[in-house]
Symmetry: D2
């Protein structure tokens, strides 16, 4: 930690800051510049409230030096984490495509979609049973009934399933049915839900919050790993910006940025980020080229009748075509998408 | 709802869209312009997925005409809602100031703060027992023990208390102790928590999400009121923008914007929005001048030792000085802050 | 400047960074922590490219310690700058209201507006002759003809005029007619225009850029003051955020933040920031309460026929009513608005 | 245009709006819904100020139906525009890579860089002679001397050059030396500069503004094409968001979004958008996979000594390696990068 004193800070003020730092267990190293004094403070990071020092007289700012995350970081664990979902490995050479409808609407809709995405090469089936919706009047999902339909679709296709939990009270129930538990963007800082996810005994797909920095996203993963679960897949799904031409702004730079700073695999959701099925194909290709470990894509048998997110859902035909082109892009960057 | 067709959309495409609208229970009114056709669709708003029509051939965009919220809106209820907390009324002539420490740290700290803010004129005591923190390693609050300290402080001072619930499982517990249950910014779209809040039988203070539009904020309130609880206080607390000179960007325009569109009272939190105690006084005055129904201000007996949010906490002396100046501003806009 | 080395940086890498810093004229002060080494570097700020050091092996980040602006800062000049426009002083006890139409449309429209805003208490007349418009097909202003109309309106009313220059080639011409030259938000980083403004011999009203930080805004002012002109009025006019309920997001916290860091006066434009005449009155009052040195308000004799920015223009009657209430708010914060 | 009336708008108010629309040359088509009336207005788009109608009593909002741009849009011209720079074609099958230093620093530096990027496969040389810098104390470029060095480098390598103009007064001078004139992000709405660029007789590279929507960007291009110059290359270079882990947020979705709406070619600058040389390679690959027509990459012989943008500059070796991998990605999406 570096404490920067204001120009004109008195020696008394500097001494008081040093005294407080020493009281808090730091060793101090003041550097007297021509205009400003800075105090290097080495020591115990457990002092949680060191930011409060800024209120001492003469202090201009506090500059943290250490990264706030530990267990998810590359500094402690250099080798990449592989998340295992049945036979599927996320974080290795294979770019894993997860696909399916936004929401489970009926047994028929789900099974149709499941067979279609499987035949095109998807490795994991997605589908929401609990749907967090902006409006209380919008379709909220089939809940446990939906989970059962997902389990049937898994039985019929052999595809593992990823589905969202939105309430700490439901994590156990979702874990009974799901192979991967999704934490949605709106819940990225629902810390109780993260803690339950850390104890659920299943891999977690953690979406980035709508306005979360990459650092905050990694801190959210830290909540999960801190409870003993390192099987975490990060998912970039677009952030909120001023641009209204797309639903959100897909921040693909986050993919290599996460990979530089964390050992966890990171995938991309081109559907929620763009909000428009026409942009899903180019952004899926871009995500693979940027080095993403996988994709999460919405596919619906008839998007014009979808109860949720129709505008961004691919038809099964468009999805099959996309998968073809993704294989070439994956190969171009030394990865593969197997059949 | 207006469906805008692309230039060059065929009559067949237009007919297909009309047929689908009619199937969904709408009456249609096509208008043929020189370059584009638009179809006015009147009817049942229950068709939840009308946005999915955009995937039909020839459709360019869908323009909703109705506002998405109902019960919180001015259209259904024109008179302003008064929220009653004991003797205190929020939404009337009095600008209600709620103050206290970010977190309950100890009985002594809380009681000291409570007496100080009361003597300066605060009408409600704030203090967090459950603290949602970005880092799992930061102080997470004293939980139920903290709630008990709050109850003791209420007993000692007579001030009603507002404190946060972060988990649907805790709402009942918090409701036992609190006079007002706070839903924090990170949980604004934690819909299960909102639903529990709607059934808690206590007034709710609903903070705006970090990157929520005013419309989404009102939709979150709609989740609460839809469960039968109209005692909702909205709280603007700053939004996330690119500006790094402040912790968040206080969006004061949201105050009159909410008041134009909703009957619910709206207050302002100048502490979290600015992140700097030096900005709290001018922004509190600005909030009152903008017409806010109240303020939520962090005050700590010794901010430099606060376990949470020290940089934005006022000292008791600064708070007392601020209250004086707020009385003049309130009077200038036809409101009052009583002693 | 602080250079933070990565964990595991070798002594050789640390030495190489020190050697480079010394080559660049710095004195170095390394501090060896348990996990990371940081190097304090004291010395010549003229080395313009010190950020490039981050590319040296083992460097994690560069933390600047000095503020990037000098002449506009409080550190060099503590007393507030008063900008003088004829008899009007901006930056003193008086809250100076500038008002008038967005664009000069005709002699009659301008003169009507001028007389109306004067009688309500405005001290400076605004009106655009050169209009920067998003669309090349929108009304672009009357140019020199508009400047002449402004001069006539000044003659008729005695009000000094503020009007915008959008091209370095026009600054001289605008300076002939205007009492204050406005640099618009879109041109805040049009550095050539800023330099011309610095040599124009007239006070400058510098609007904040749509997505500029307060620091970048002060740096833009530094371009003007660096050419010898310290008669600069800063104008907050809303920033671009994700919120669509208002045209921009008025960042009122910028007012006290600027005043803490700079000696220049700062005013607020509630019209462009909100984009809605209904929000202009509450946000004007809020701006005065926040400590703004003045206001810039759009007033049009018939907003429904305005060629530009009608939705955010006040009618003369509404403006007169607003001025009344502003006087009370100004008094409440120890300022005044004279008749 | 659709005018949406408020619920409860009177027939008199509706009639008054219709009368005004008719006065302005529109044909009106009112649709009476259960709660709201909307009025479809067909006709003359030249009425520039129709937004001002919102101030008429009873009007809730105005919804434009037509796109604001014409000449740059796909509706008027469906076939893609090819921009020709000597032998180089931008907008065809070849992904055109432009590379070189941020700023021209010396003849030697530039020539070294030029030979290096040419040998790796770049087709156009970039280098700034006029540098818009946030600080007046930063290196501002060598100006005309720099232009001469660029001309010499072109002579020595055969590479056409792209360089920035920052002042309408310099466009003619820059046009004498440059093969492509760049309009920088900060000047995207410097409309006078755009108009000069429209008359310069040289291709224009138009960077997206830091906080511009795609629609505003296309409107800026409309200013250029409206003056008769359709040789415009759009360049996505990152937008300003709250994320601080990268310099800006590269909005790659803008590439297919522009291509859907405009016939102009669009390239990507992975250097300014990320601000970090480590992210340049993956984001360059992503840009090509997203369908970009070219890339603009900063390469410096020794980034650690660069006078400008060192942190985001590739070494010549890293650039050569990147070009290899880009060829594979281009092939995977049916494009090529020739030697």
């Amino acid at each position: 930690m570096i404490v920067v004193m204001r120009p004109g800070a008195t020696q008394e003020q500097i001494d008081a800051v040093e005294a407080r730092l020493i009281e808090f267990g730091f060793k101090t190293h003041p550097i007297y510049g021509e205009e400003k004094t800075v105090i290097g403070a080495i020591g115990d990071k457990k002092v949680l409230s060191s930011e409060s020092l800024i209120t001492l007289p003469g202090v201009e700012k506090i500059v943290p030096i250490m990264k706030p995350y530990k267990l998810v970081g590359r500094e402690l664990k250099q080798s990449k984490t592989i998340v295992r979902v049945g036979q599927v490995e996320i974080g290795g050479d294979e770019v894993v495509v997860m696909a399916g409808p936004c929401a489970v609407e009926s047994e028929e809709q789900l099974l149709t979609a499941a067979l279609q995405v499987k035949s095109a090469g998807a490795k994991i089936l997605r589908g929401g049973a609990f749907k967090p919706r902006t409006s209380p009047y919008a379709f909220q999902g089939l809940e446990e009934e939906g989970l059962k339909m997902l389990a049937k679709a898994r039985e019929a296709t052999g595809l593992p399933i990823v589905t969202e939990a939105v309430d700490p009270r439901d994590v156990e129930l979702v874990a009974e049915y799901a192979d991967v538990i999704q934490i949605g963007a709106r819940n990225m800082q629902n810390f109780r839900l993260l803690q339950e996810a850390g104890m659920a005994g299943k891999p977690i797909l953690l979406k980035r919050g709508l306005s979360s920095t990459v650092e905050e996203w990694l801190m959210a993963a830290e909540y999960i790993i801190d409870k003993g679960n390192d099987q975490i897949i990060l998912c970039e799904r677009g952030i909120r910006t001023y641009e209204t031409g797309t639903r959100n702004t897909l921040d693909l730079s986050a993919v290599p940025l996460v990979q530089e700073n964390s050992h966890l695999p990171v995938i991309v959701d081109p559907s929620h980020s763009t909000g428009s099925w026409k942009l899903v194909a180019p952004m899926s290709r871009a995500a693979v080229a940027a080095g993403a470990d996988g994709l999460l894509i919405e596919v619906h048998p008839d998007p014009s009748r979808a109860l949720c997110d129709g505008p961004q859902s691919l038809t099964p035909d468009n999805f099959a075509g996309l998968m073809q082109s993704l294989r070439s892009v994956a190969a171009a960057v030394g990865k593969k998408i197997s059949h």
